[in-house]
Amino acid sequence: MSSFSLGKELSGILQKDRATMTLQDQVAQLFQEARDDVYRYLLSLGLFPPQAQEATQEVFLRLYVTLKKGEDIQSHRAWIFRVAHNLGLKLRAKQNQAPFDPELELRMVAPEMNPEQTALDREQKLRFHQAIQRLSEQQRRCLFLRLEGLRYPEIGAALGISTSAVGEFLRRAVNRLKKDEL
C-alpha cells in the first residue's frame, strides 16, 4: 500500500467527519474560532463593547440562518467580516454618541499593563500605533480586514469598493506606515 493512497484515504476520512458535523456544530465552531476577531473589528469601527458583543453574536446567527437556507458561501470568514462590517456601520449610524474610543495609547503606556516591556519597545509600539491612527479610514479598514485574512476581492465586497481600489488603499497604507516608521 502506498503512502499516497493512505494519505488520500485519511484526508477523505477527515473530510467526511467534517461533512457529518451538524450545521449548528459547524457554525458554533466558527463562532468559537472567530468571535474575538469579529468583536475587535466591531470595536475598531467605533461600536461600544456591549453593542459589539451583541452584534458579533448576531453575525453568527445570520450565518446560521443563511446556511440553513442552503445558500452556498465560498469563504465563511470573508462572509462573516462582510456582514460584521455592514452591521457595525449600521449600528454606529444609529448611535447617538461619539464612536467608542478604546484609549489604546493610555493602555499601551500604562506600565502595569506591560511589565516586561522596555521603554524603547513601548516607544516603538506607540509610534506605530500613531501611524496607524493617521491612516485614512478606508486605508485602515482595508488593512484591518487584510490582517483578518481576507483577500482583496473579499475586502472589496465587504467595503463596497473594487479590488483594484483595495490594492491602492493597501499600497498607500503600507507606504505611509513605512515612511512614518523611518
Partner: protein, 553 residues
Amino acid sequence: MRHLEDEQLLRYADGELPARGVGQVRSHLEACWQCRAQLEELHETVTQCVGYRKNVLQRHLPPPPAPWTDIYQRFAEVDATLARPSLLQRAVNALRWPVENPRRWVPIAAALMIIWGLFYRVRLMPSVQAAELLRKAVVAADARPVKQHRIEIRTRGHRLTRTTGQKLASNPADTQTLQSLQALFTAANYDWNDPLSAKSYQAWRSQLNDKKDEVVQEQDSIRVRTDTASGEMKDASLTLKKPDLQPVQGRFEFRDGEWVEITAIADESAPSTEAAAVGATPEPHATLPSSPAPNTITAPSVAPTIADELHVIAALHQVGADLGDPLEIQRTASEILVSGTGIAPARQQEIQEAIGSQPRVSVRFSNSAPDTVRPQRSTAEAPAGADLRQMQSRVAEQIGGRANFEQLATEVLDLSEPMMSRVYALRRLAERFPADAVEQLAAPDRQLLRQLQREHIAALRQQTAELDRLLKPMRARGSGGNTSAAISATTWQPATEELFQSARRVEKLLAVIFGAAPSDSADDQLPGQLLSSLAQLRAKVDVYERLSTKMER
C-alpha cells in the same frame, strides 16, 4: 531597468497578481537587488502590522463585557422563530411571496400543471388517445387492399372459424351459433359483418353516451379497451398490431354475462410487411412511446470525429461533469459513448440534458458501484506516528497554536480535492487530444479546447495561490520555496504529466502533514518539502499556461 512598482510588489506578496504578472515579477526580483530589498521592507511592515494586531489590538482592546452566551441556545431560538412565523407575518408572506419570488412560484405553477397533466392523462387522455388510435387504424385499414379475412371466434361454449362477410358456416350447428352471435352484436349496435375491424369498433364506440377508455401499450401491439354503462355490450377491447395498426384480436363482453373473443387468423398469402408499406404512419408509436430505456439516447450512426468528442467534453464541462463524476468517454466507429457508473438519478438527468443535443452520442448509466478513474484510496487507517505528531506540534507552534493548525488543516485539505479534480481534468484533455488530434481540429474547436484548459488552469491557479496563502505562516522568514519550474516538455501535452506529478506530490504531502498519513520521508523535512513542492506546482502551472497558449497561434 524599469523597477517594480509598490503596488505590484504588494500584490505579488499577497498572491493577488494575475499569473502572467507573477512570472514577470519573480524574474525581475531574481535580477534586481533593489526591488528585492524593497520587497523585504514591505515584509517588515507587514510583520509590524501583524505584531500590532497581536500586541496592541488583541491585548489592549477591552474584552467582551459579558461571557459569551451559549450559541446553541440562540440557534434553538432562531429555529423556533423560523418554524413559527406570526399569523400576520404568514398573511403578509402569502401576499408578498408570489411578487418577490417569481422564480419560486413558477416551478410551483409548473408542478400544478404537471398534476393537471397527470389528471388529464389518467382521466381524459385515454379517451383522446383511443379516438385518435382508432382513427389512425381506420385510415390504415382503408389504405389496405379490400380483402376478406379469416377469423377465429370463441365463446363460452363454442369455437369456430369464419371468413368475414360470410354469414354461413360450413356446418349447421356453427351457422346457428353465428346467427345468435349476430343477434347479440346487432342488439349491441356492433357491426357483425366485420367485427374485428377498427371501423366497426369506432362506430360502436362513437354511439355510446357514456364510456371509459383505456389504451395499453404492449411490446408489439396496442390495445384499446372501452367499457360503458349504455347498451348491451358492457365492455370491448381491440388489439392492434404495431406498427400497421391491423386488428389482431377483439374481446366483447355482454351484459348478460356472455363473452366473445375474436382472433385474426394469419393470412399466409399476405406478406407480413404488406401493411407496413401503406401510407399510414404509425404515429401512436411516436406519441405513445412504449417506454424505451429512459437513459439511452441514440443518434444516427455516422463516424464521430475528434471534434465531436471535444464538443461532448465541453458540454459535460458546462455542468461540471468533467470534475470527478465517474464518467468515461469512448469514441467508437459509430458513436461517442458516455458511460457512467453509480451516478445519482438527478445528476444523470443533468448530464443527459447537457449532452443530449450533441450528435452521435450515446449515454449509458449503470447503477453498480462506481468504477472510479481516480486512484483508489486504501481502506486501512494508520495512527499518526510519534514523529509525525511531533512534526505537527512544531508546525502548530510555528503558526500560533493547535487551534490554528486545526483550522489550517481543514482549509488545506478542503482545497486539495478540488485542486486534484482540475489536474485530472487537464490530464484527460492531454490524453484525449495528442498533438496530431489537435492538428485535425478547426480553429474554433482549438479555441474551445483552449477555453477548457484556460478555465481549469485559472481554477488551479487560484487554488494553488490560496494554498500558498494558507501555508504562508509555515514559511520561516526569508526562506522562499524552490521556485524553479523544471518542465522539460516543449508542448502542453507532455507538460500536463509533469504538472500532474507535481500536484500529486503536493496532495500527498498535504495528506501527510495535515491528515497524518504515513510518509517515507523524515518528518521534520516535510513542511519544507511541501512549500517547495507547492512553489514548483505554481511555477508549472505558469509553464503549462505558456505552452498551451502556443496552440492558439
